[in-house]
Symmetry: C2
Subunit: 304 residues, 2 copies
């Protein structure tokens, strides 16, 4: 088989496997209680199970694999990152935020349940992430557990994802102040921080010392930006049905994005360059990094 085709198969199999494993994982973490809390847990399950590319758990697991971390361990950490991602989508979709009615091809959580339940389900998935990472079931080594929590909390809070989200809100109001360096910074926080944390968690599980993570950080930074440019392009050129959500909202809102600043041609070129650069960061690894390389290519070639 041709190398590129082999890597396509590698990625396709890995995506299918992680998608079913993450669904099964959430199912296990979220048994529905037989009392009035059922509504909350059903809402958490509605948002967390099914749908989603599961790119973040895949990144945790593909990175952890470089260091022979057991798959079940990497999967738990991946589910914690995904819980943060899912909570952020629930809150993002709220009427006071992006006011979205559709996510993964089904009604958003506040449409399927109600707004209050959506706020609480998001908050509960947020707490679940840290419950998973800090549990002795995660790994026997408490130092690793504390390091996992620290990395994910920093990546998701005001210095990470939430910080990027507020910049994104400000960008909608004051788009003239958002030049390319500012948009880059915004996206490094808004989507890059959590993608970066996924790679970081894999490295922490692999007990790679911070100074040994430089190339992996470079890889994560580059795919994070490439991911966002690809998202901007899909927002303009993508298929709403395939995306399972409303598109073309950024352009309609006149928001400054990579695309509005660079135009589609240069944006596409920039994304491809970032992918090459991301793969170059992996040059010290052999075949064992092929999945990470395939993920980098997938990030700009995906259709949703």
């Amino acid at each position: 088989m041709h190398a590129a085709a082999a890597n396509d198969t590698l990625l396709k199999d890995a995506l299918e496997e992680i998608q079913s494993d993450v669904d099964r994982g959430f199912d296990g973490f979220l048994p529905v209680p037989d009392d009035q809390r059922a509504r909350l847990v059903e809402a958490m399950r509605y948002a967390a199970i099914g749908g989603g590319k599961r790119l973040r758990p895949l990144l945790v697991s593909a990175t952890a694999k470089l260091f022979q971390v057991p798959r079940a361990t990497a999967l738990r950490a991946g589910i914690a990152v995904e819980a943060i991602h899912v909570y952020s989508l629930i809150h993002d979709d709220l009427p006071c935020m992006d006011d979205d009615a559709l996510r993964h091809g089904k009604p958003t959580l506040h449409k399927a349940f109600d707004e209050a339940t959506a706020v609480l389900a998001g908050d509960s998935l947020h707490a679940l992430a840290f419950e998973i990472l800090s549990s002795p079931n995660m790994t026997g080594d408490p130092f690793t557990r504390a390091e996992l929590v620290a990395a994910l909390a920093k990546a998701s809070g005001h210095e990470g994802m939430a910080g990027g989200q507020i910049m994104d809100m400000v960008a909608e109001e004051e788009s003239e102040d958002f030049d390319l360096p500012t948009i880059t910074r915004l996206q490094q926080l808004k989507t890059g921080a959590l993608l970066g944390a996924s790679v970081e968690l894999g490295a922490i599980l692999g007990r790679v010392a911070p100074e040994g993570r430089t190339h992996l950080h470079g890889y994560a930074r580059d795919i994070g930006l490439a991911f966002q440019i690809a998202d901007d392009l899909l927002d303009i050129e993508g298929d709403e049905e395939l995306a399972g959500k409303a598109l073309r909202k950024d352009a309609d809102a006149g928001k400054a994005t990579f695309l509005s600043l660079l135009g589609p041609e240069r944006a596409r070129e920039q994304a491809r360059m970032l992918v090459d650069q991301a793969i170059a960061h992996l040059s010290s690894y052999g075949d064992e990094a092929d999945l990470l390389r395939a993920i980098a290519r997938y990030i700009v070639e995906r259709d949703r």
Copy 2:
């Protein structure tokens, strides 16, 4: 000085000290960045600094003191619990939840800023709590850090505080299904879990093994219920100006509470009995537990 008067002074001094320490702590954790994230951090500061009895940090610190934990260490853990408490108030006050306009005598966060910023500021304080607890600055012992995170995540998520909040929402819709055992369970989760976690964090910092925490758990459970009964009474009999928030909302909504089920006389009696019981759980401790005893009394005697 009379013993009761001495304990009043002990409590008054401890409250004043913790209030100024918690304010200073949040101030240190939340420097305002010089970019578009400023709005988010200003919102977090608006909600977190000033106002609030700081009962949870006081419980952490009073419990930790039983085991000679350095005050600065207990204070950090207390600020983490308070960050969770503050985030839950921000989200509770949102229009889709309790729709409150006043908190601690000033406009609620979504009134002073906007709803989207309030959602994000709540989320960011939520992450901050786990960032504080997992940081090597918290304590040099990673096992303790992981245990602190696990206790707080469980207490705040769907099996704790958030679970109690959804029950509370259901109680408003289906009050006929809420008998005394169900209301007790609801309140043990909604306010009890986080008060319990405050005591638990103090014990974890004191490296008390789980089997040695039984009396402290009993103390926390009893003051948690007493706190809620006192809150119900204040909701009916309290002064809105002193409370700094809207009162009498539960009765207006026809919600099942301890008060609606027991009536004011029996509710007051039950609260006093719980305080006696809480104090009895501390009988194996000497003077060093006087502050915990004074907190138990304060919980039912406070006027806000």
